[in-house]
């Protein structure tokens, strides 16, 4: 019967759409990934040539945040002051912390842009087209790196893998 067939195809289309939306990550996502593992996969995909690890003092100085307030807070900053590569990963617990991190990263980015504006075209290129801010599943990631796209994929992937294991 035509009606049945038409009806079947109609609702099949709707069901496929809903399934598709779920697969592409709508809704709430779990928040219990292992920060160390996430950080490792992020570092693996980044171009680390110009990066060195930062002390808590340097994190405070560059971002005006206190690493002790967060469960996990790691920063890699430029080896020389004329580079702008940066990699920051923080695990936060509530929206106010997320907001604070977002503002801190934005300030840092703006400050760097102002410092190199009109003067360092390569640095401005990295800051402009290769910077990324991503907040997901309780993790805040800020990066300025030639491999920013790979870093983002690695970050998202690591979180999905970690979440699905629970």
């Amino acid at each position: 019967m035509k009606t049945v067939l038409y009806g079947l195809f109609r609702w099949l289309a709707v069901a496929t759409a809903i399934a598709f939306l779920f697969l592409t990550g709508a809704g709430n996502v779990a928040r219990n990934a292992d920060p160390q593992k996430v950080f490792e996969s992020v570092c693996l995909s980044a171009d680390m040539t110009n990066l060195q690890p930062a002390s808590n003092q340097m994190i405070k100085r560059l971002y005006d945040i206190n690493p002790a307030d967060y469960e996990f807070c790691m920063l890699y900053y430029p080896k020389t002051n004329m580079d702008v590569d940066e990699l920051l990963l923080v695990k936060f617990t509530d929206r106010s912390q997320e907001e604070a991190l977002r503002n801190a990263a934005q300030s840092r980015l703006n400050g760097q842009k102002k410092a190199f504006e009109g003067y360092g075209a390569e640095q401005m290129g990295l800051l402009g087209s290769h910077s990324l801010t991503e907040s997901r599943s309780g993790f805040f990631l800020f990066a300025v790196n030639p491999n920013d796209a790979e870093i983002r994929s690695a970050f998202v992937k690591a979180l999905e893998e970690e979440s699905s294991c629970r």
Partner: protein
């Protein structure tokens, strides 16, 4: 990809035009569909999948409605129609309004709930309305369902109109899918319209945007009357040039590929009343709401109370359609009240006022409405409006206000004149003058290359603006 982007104008469109002319007639729709899917995929692959599924759903629903209508099963047909509209509306509500709804419910209840909505498919406010229009027209018997899935897919996904309209009703395009004339006149006319639309959007709206952005960047508490009005005027004109320009481009594109779509804007700022305004601004939206909400509810063929109710439903929905924010609802109600006033209170009075004055008043009322429209929230709108009438703020004119007004006055005057029907009237006069001096045929022959030359200059100007603008976002594209 936006129609006003360099990639579209310089690569996609010429390729589409050339391919289209080389393709045999029977394959042309398939080509357009392929190009449209590519066009959508260019922005996001997930959009193509969702739109394809939406097309599939509506295609089968339309066929079912067609079948049920022929077999005269009224109740089942109504059920299927209802479910079809519900799914389309549901899709629109989910992507566009879910977060807004949740935030408001949570604000009332007092909880917090975070939800990530996936990326909104391009043109969702437009193609869902196109789909609903199809289902209604088929159910009513005005049109038959489209048998060829490719043709139907083209109706929904045609790249000319999918991004931002116009909302072409099914009954206006159904026959053209299989039967449309490709004449030189139509193609030329389409190309001219496209270039004019591009200039409106990229040059005029671009320059006006600077004025508006400057005022918007100020704290509304510190605006002066001059500053507030400069910003409001700039926005009103910018919105017109941006949206009517984009519509011109869409309709022009349609013509290039043989489709005739009705115009979406008809010099709305020359309107002499609000009723007149809504017959000239975003015509396709008004027509859609009239044909698929107002008239099914009874329209004006009912008692006054019910009539007012019908109008209220239409205007609340029209406001909401523009975005998930209370400001749009307020804006919708504002226009509703003005229309009710004109319809039931002022009836004959307006005719006694000279039309120039009426036009000015209507324009002013529209500008006031737009200030609510561009506000991020009601508080901002209230603050801004108070500044416009001189309450609070920095007095009649402050440095900032004068900076933008002084710099922008020539642009604003050009924009206002350009928005009225004066330019086309002037061109018409020029045409007739030439016809009297020279033989009519020679005049027509001469006008063509001259027009082409002038449009070439416009094209060059548009290219300059498209290259130098880093961010050019079409305002209505967020809908």
């Amino acid at each position: 990809m936006p129609l006003s982007e360099l990639f579209f104008v310089f690569i996609f469109l010429p390729a589409a035009i050339i391919l289209y002319r080389l393709t045999p007639d029977r394959l042309r729709n398939a080509l357009l569909l392929l190009l449209s899917l590519f066009f959508i995929a260019w922005g996001s692959l997930s959009d193509v999948i969702l739109i394809a599924l939406c097309i599939a759903f509506n295609y089968f629903t339309a066929l079912e409605l067609d079948h049920l209508r022929r077999s005269d099963s009224r109740i089942l047909k109504k059920l299927v129609l209802f479910s079809g509209i519900a799914v389309n509306a549901g899709m629109l509500i989910f992507f566009k309004y879910f977060v807004f709804l949740i935030n408001n419910v949570c604000a009332v209840i007092g909880t917090e709930f975070s939800f990530t909505v996936p990326k909104v498919p391009v043109g969702i406010s437009f193609f869902t309305f196109s789909a609903i229009s199809c289902l209604c027209d088929v159910a009513k018997g005005d049109e038959n369902a489209v048998r060829n899935p490719l043709d139907f897919a083209l109706y929904i996904a045609f790249f000319a109109k999918i991004t931002s309209g116009p909302i072409v009703k099914f009954r206006d395009m159904a026959r053209q899918l299989n039967d449309r004339a490709m004449t030189a006149e139509l193609t030329e006319s389409g190309m001219k319209l496209f270039i004019i639309g591009l200039s409106k959007k990229v040059i005029m709206a671009g320059c006006l945007g600077f004025l508006f952005d400057g005022i918007k960047a100020q704290d509304p508490a510190s605006l002066s009357v001059a500053g507030a009005w400069t910003g409001a005027l700039a926005y009103s004109l910018m919105l017109y040039y941006d949206f009517s320009g984009y519509s011109d481009m869409a309709i022009g594109l349609g013509k290039i590929f043989g489709f005739s779509f009705a115009k979406n804007f008809d010099h709305p700022y020359s309107s002499v009343s609000m009723t007149d305004f809504w017959r000239r601004w975003h015509i396709s939206l008004g027509a859609w709401f009239r044909d698929y909400v107002y008239i099914p509810l009874g329209g004006s063929r009912v008692g006054r109370a019910r009539n007012i109710f019908n109008l209220s439903v239409v205007w609340l929905l029209t406001g909401l359609w523009h975005g998930a924010n209370w400001t749009f609802v307020v804006w919708g109600i504002y226009h509703l009240l003005l229309l009710l006033l004109e319809k039931f209170v002022l009836k004959g009075l307006l005719d006694r006022i000279p039309s120039l004055l009426r036009a000015a008043m209507t324009f002013l009322l529209a500008v006031i409405g737009w200030t609510v429209f561009f506000s991020d929230n009601i508080a901002y709108a209230g603050s801004y409006l108070l500044r416009m009438i001189g309450i609070g703020g920095s007095g009649l004119a402050d440095r900032t206000g004068l900076f933008y007004l002084n710099g922008g006055v020539f642009l604003l005057v050009c924009a206002i004149i350009g928005a009225t029907s004066l330019p086309s009237a002037a061109l018409g006069k020029l045409d007739r003058l030439m016809e009297r001096r020279i033989d009519k045929r020679a005049a027509a022959q001469l006008m063509q290359p001259v027009t082409a030359l002038l449009l070439a200059l416009l094209m060059l100007g548009c290219t300059a603006f498209m290259i130098s603008d880093t961010v050019s976002s079409f305002l209505y594209a967020q809908f």
